[in-house]
């Protein structure tokens, strides 16, 4: 960490708006990118990014400027994304807000039958938020377990456990719907 950055972080903890703006502009893309991987909706991810920085600003006095700002921001962003998934559990299947098929780099695989896709997304949307987030990051995004663990504030074994439980619930739910992957 450079001296300049450290000074900026110290200024931020004292409530300096200029320093906060600099941090905001530097990290907004990273925070957004992390949130969109979990919630899978660009519009929601933008709102949650702003909300994340609002929480960061309010909690500035508790931040240790000698620790990495990015990791702290990601933890807060993850908590907000989990809160969002909890609120929307079962009503917003994964990928529902994605652009229609044919849109660049956004369409689901055409080989997956629409009916099967709907069942998979519905089953996934029913998972508890904590399991859903862990499974999204580990199975769909293929994020390293250590990275997920840091963002969720749990151990790597904790992440493995959540993914395992998500897979078990998902499989059971899909079997009820007549899908056997």
């Amino acid at each position: 960490m450079t001296g300049t950055v450290e000074t900026e972080l110290e200024q931020f903890t004292r409530g300096d708006i200029q320093a906060f703006e600099t941090l905001f502009r530097e990290y907004q893309g990273e925070v957004y990118g992390w949130i969109v991987r979990i919630v899978r909706d660009p519009g929601v991810a933008e709102d949650l990014t702003v909300e994340t920085f609002w929480r960061i600003y309010r909690a500035r006095a508790r931040f240790d400027p000698h620790r990495p700002f990015g990791a702290w921001a990601r933890r807060i962003a993850t908590n907000l994304a989990l809160e969002h998934l909890s609120r929307r559990r079962g009503e917003e299947p994964l990928g529902q807000d994605l652009p229609p098929r044919g849109a660049p780099s956004a369409a689901p695989d055409a080989a997956v039958d629409a009916d099967v896709r709907a069942k998979v997304l519905a089953a996934f949307g029913e998972l508890p938020a904590k399991l859903r987030a862990a499974a999204t990051l580990a199975m769909i995004e293929e994020t390293p377990y250590a990275e997920i663990a840091e963002a969720l504030g749990i151990s790597v074994n904790g992440v493995k456990s959540r993914v395992f439980r998500a897979v078990r619930l998902l499989r059971r739910s899909l079997e009820k719907r007549g899908v056997r992957p």
Binding site: Q28, P108, D109, V120, L121
Partner: protein, 72 residues
């Protein structure tokens, strides 16, 4: 992960697709700025009165504290 889990993972990945905008396309600072300029929310006098009344009740009837904690 075993073979069945891998199959499930592949199905999930193919069903979910990829979010269209994985990278932020615009600056969000204009949306952040008004929040910082908003005056902090004031707590209405009624909330203070309720809190004071609750405190008095708890002091007068301490036996209700465990019941209250249980409800929380």
């Amino acid at each position: 992960m075993n073979e069945r889990d891998e199959a499930l993972k592949e199905l999930l990945k193919r069903a979910a697709g990829v979010p269209a905008d994985r990278e932020l396309k615009r600056d969000l600072w204009p949306e952040m700025r008004p929040r910082l300029e908003r005056p902090p929310a004031r707590i209405p006098w009624w909330d203070w009165a309720m809190a004071a009344a609750l405190l008095v009740c708890l002091l007068l009837f301490p036996a209700t504290i465990p019941a209250l904690l249980y409800q929380l």
